[in-house]
């Protein structure tokens, strides 16, 4: 389970996150929505120990990221891009990660098979298309078979087959008791995938609940989103 509690992040004079709190529970897919610049990436980066919060904490099963014994087997993250050096092959990228986490090489091949990159694994990452790069990122996230998955725009660049695969895959994972936190801009897809929704706007949480609760009286998630985020004072990003 992911617990974000009163997270505040200031960069210079700008306050990027103003005390956000929410939970991502096991057995459910939680969608993390917000306009550009709302603070989604900052939240995820703080959760994964990449950035430092000014105050508040982001805990994974009660512990901060840096205190996890084997992070890759607890929480798998696919952030922007492939996260791999462009000159390295996809397989080499996954192999060093497996080495660091104490996983076997056969696991690398398994994971490549799951995301459908077995044929392209011997090519340099720089030659990958956008979708292939995202698949590699997904493979890296799945390497340790973690209980928690954090995905930032996983659908970006995927072909229709990939989109359908991700949707079913994430639902299966949640159904088997894992936690999935996924951030995206594609409302239609999200509405078909998530159980809970958290909406962030200008560094504050404006909605937090199940999909039905957040949609409320609106017709679709998109309507609800616009109602919640453009109703507030402030510029439209």
């Amino acid at each position: 389970m992911i617990t974000i509690h009163n997270l505040v992040k200031r960069r210079g004079t700008q306050e990027i996150l103003s005390g956000i709190s929410f939970k991502a529970r096991p057995g459910r897919v939680t969608g993390f929505l917000g306009p550009n610049g709302a603070g989604k990436s900052s939240t995820l980066r703080i959760l994964l120990g990449l950035d430092r919060a000014t105050s508040g904490n982001a805990l994974i099963d009660g512990k901060p990221f840096a205190e996890l014994h084997n992070p890759l087997t607890t929480i798998g993250a696919a952030l922007d891009g492939s996260g791999a050096h462009r000159m390295r092959t996809g397989r080499a990228h996954l192999r060093w990660m497996a080495h660091a986490a104490g996983l076997s090489r056969s696991r690398v091949e398994e994971v490549l098979d799951i995301v459908g990159l077995t044929n392209a694994a011997g090519k340099r990452v720089g030659k990958y298309s956008l979708g292939m790069g995202r698949r590699l990122g997904m493979a890296a996230a799945l390497l340790g078979d973690p209980k928690i998955l954090v995905l930032d725009e996983p659908i970006n660049g995927l072909d229709p087959e990939g989109i359908r695969w991700i949707r079913t895959f994430l639902r299966e994972r949640a159904a088997s008791g894992n936690t999935v936190l996924l951030s995206s801009h594609l409302m239609g897809e999200l509405a078909a995938t998530v159980d809970d929704v958290v909406i962030i706007h200008h560094g504050k949480i404006v909605a937090d609940g199940t999909l039905e609760e957040v949609i409320g009286n609106h017709s679709t998630l998109e309507e609800a989103f616009f109602a919640l985020t453009s109703g507030l004072a402030g510029d439209v990003v």
């Binding site: 922007d80 891009g81 492939s82 462009r86 720089g126 956008l130 790069g133």
Partner: protein, 249 residues
């Protein structure tokens, strides 16, 4: 003309350019000052053998600024952004704005030449003042032909850096090779002790334009011509490769 202006504004908005300017303006002055300080007693006594090199040595060895300029002008086009922005490179945008690739290359080379000439003029001013500061009344006069040679040397070196970076796309190798070559441990000078042919290498030949070395090989004008020939050949090679290259490769 529009392409030329575009390239100029591109160059001026590069953050690394300020590093190039800083080094280009101050390095020659510092080098000249330190060298003059070392030679001060000899010059005052009138027994200096390197009197003709006073000051110019700063211009010869402080050329790192224009090297960075020439390299950055091209390598900034190929710097791939992170995958967040789709792994795009500036070169794709640049090539969709100009009518032909050669046009683009010429405009960019033109911008680099103009800026390096301006930079060398400023460097000459700082170097001359620094030398005056150290040597006072013993400063030898700075003659116009030699100063012109120094300006040409800077412009040609920048173009050499430019041409090499077009071929390698990544700035690391040209930067490393050229910075080492124009420093105190130059490859060309070493090779010139091994074979006479090395005296035709661009930087060695270019030096003749404004520095009287103990073993003069070419007249200043011939030296300049040799360096210019190198620049032209390199530019033609770079243009051919650039013209035929796929941007995605």
């Amino acid at each position: 003309m529009r392409a030329f202006n575009a390239e100029l504004s591109k160059l001026f908005s590069l953050p690394g350019i300020w590093l190039a300017f800083l080094i280009g303006v101050f390095a020659p002055a510092v080098i000249a000052a330190l060298d003059s300080m070392a030679q001060k007693e000899e010059i005052i006594a009138g027994v200096s053998t390197r009197l003709s090199e006073v000051g110019y040595i700063g211009l010869g060895l402080g050329v790192q600024g224009v090297i960075i300029l020439g390299v950055l002008a091209v390598s900034s086009e190929y710097l791939a952004e992170g995958n967040e922005t789709g792994g795009g490179q500036q070169i794709t945008t640049s090539l969709t704005v100009v009518s032909s690739r050669i046009h683009f290359l010429l405009a960019k080379a033109g911008a680099v030449t103009v800026i390096s000439i301006l930079l060398s003029v400023v460097a000459i001013m700082t170097t001359v003042s620094a030398t005056h500061l150290v040597l006072g009344e013993y400063t030898p006069a700075f003659e116009w032909p030699k100063l012109l040679g120094a300006v040409c040397y800077w412009a040609f070196t920048a173009l050499l850096a430019f041409g090499i970076t077009v071929l390698t796309k990544h700035g690391m190798i040209p930067l490393a090779v050229l910075i080492i070559n124009t420093s105190f441990v130059s490859f060309s000078f070493l090779l010139s002790k091994v074979t006479k042919l090395a005296l035709y290498l661009p930087d060695r030949a270019g030096f003749e334009m404004f520095m009287f070395l103990s073993n003069r090989f070419l007249t200043p004008f011939t030296g300049g011509l040799v360096m210019f020939a190198w620049v032209v050949v390199l530019f033609i090679a770079a243009a051919i490769v650039f013209h035929r290259r796929d941007v995605a490769s």
